[in-house]
């Protein structure tokens, strides 16, 4: 299988760096799969799961909350505003995150900020729902 270089970076650390076969990315306009030789692209991300398929493993999953993905001919980079290994995420973490966004909406000054934060909130709630269903299944 053709592979390409992929990096997942959050402000705190590099979560993943290495050669991969495919990456599934939660872009704002829907999920998309990046394979080797993908056309150059820049897209913003929503809250969701990044699924990374390497040659040897069954694939790794990461939780990202906002950020952006850049695909160019050599590498693919995700700059996540917030990123975690999916194993480290549970309902408690999501609830805490929802609460922070809610308090920030209450403290937001401009309408624009409020709208932006509200979008994040909706995404987070949606993700929590999906996450709970996944766990139940």
């Amino acid at each position: 299988m053709a592979t390409f270089k992929f990096e997942l970076v959050s402000p705190e650390r590099i979560l993943f760096s290495g050669d991969v076969v495919s990456v599934i990315v939660p872009s704002v306009e829907g999920e998309m799969t990046v394979l080797a030789g993908h056309a150059p692209l820049v897209a913003t991300l929503k809250t969701g799961i990044v699924f990374v398929q390497t040659t040897e493993s069954n694939g790794k999953e990461f939780f990202v909350n906002g950020g952006l993905v850049e695909v160019n001919h050599e590498t693919t980079t995700i700059l996540a505003e917030q990123g975690k290994f999916l194993e480290d995420v549970d309902t408690g973490v999501l609830d805490a995150e929802i609460l922070t966004v809610e308090t920030r909406i209450a403290g937001a000054h401009t309408e624009e900020d409020k709208k932006r934060l509200h979008e994040t909130l909706v995404q987070l709630r949606e993700f929590k729902h999906v996450f709970e269903q996944r766990k139940a299944a």
Binding site: V9, L41, V42, A43, T44, E70, N72, L79
Partner: protein, 289 residues
Amino acid sequence: MPSLKDLRNRIASVKATQKITKAMQMVAAAKLRRAQMAAEAARPYAERMETVLANLASGVSGSSAPRLIAGTGSDKVQLLLVLTAERGLCGAFNSSIARLARDKALALKAEGKTVKIICVGKKGYDILRRQFASDIIEFIDLREFKQVGFVNAEAIAQNILTRFNNGEFDVATLFFSKFRSVIAQIPTAQRIIPAEIPEGTKQTEAVYDYEPDEGEILETLLPRNLTVQILRGLLENAASEQGARMSAMDSATRNAGEMIKKQTTLYNRSRQAMITKELIEIISGAEAL
């Protein structure tokens, strides 16, 4: 000639000081490890961000470019964002950042430009206040935060963006100390508005697809870049501060040791001189009988 009691007191007080500086050095060493890890972990993100931004910025050009990249077209009003520590006793750390900022401010003033200063950290504020009291428009206090993080950087970035959008300044420069090693911290000035596009980044000829669209992405990316650059400055500064404190306290401890040694020699000498003097007195008294 100080009395023996004076000397004893002096030695005791230097010893007490040495204990304090030693303890401070060890605390700084422990904190340094964490601060250094944080600073190094933040580097890749800031660097990738720069690369992505450089790639994007080469695609947008002319009048369509957002003001955070292109600037306001003027450089009359300059904002200096000076990041320093909240505490002293860390060698030349604070003063070297403040000096760099002061030189820049004076140079700009000589060119007839307006200078506005925002101080983050009490020590830099204390130094710059003496000379630029009327130019400092805000002092941001981070004393209550044990570990500076993303939240702090975001608040500062928001503050600056609001000012920029209100047209309060044209160009913003960030001053902080880059952490090279425990003994080397480099005071650095970095232009953050308009965003500095690193020279020599290889231009990817690829034409990007944008999702949703170019303008919207740049609109979210640019403020974010500002936050990230400020965060990086704060983290580098935190590591530099601990490094500077560690080496300052190390040499203070060494100096105290030297002083103790000198004073002890002096103490022993004068004690022996006293004994000799008393012996002479007794012997010559006995001989006189």
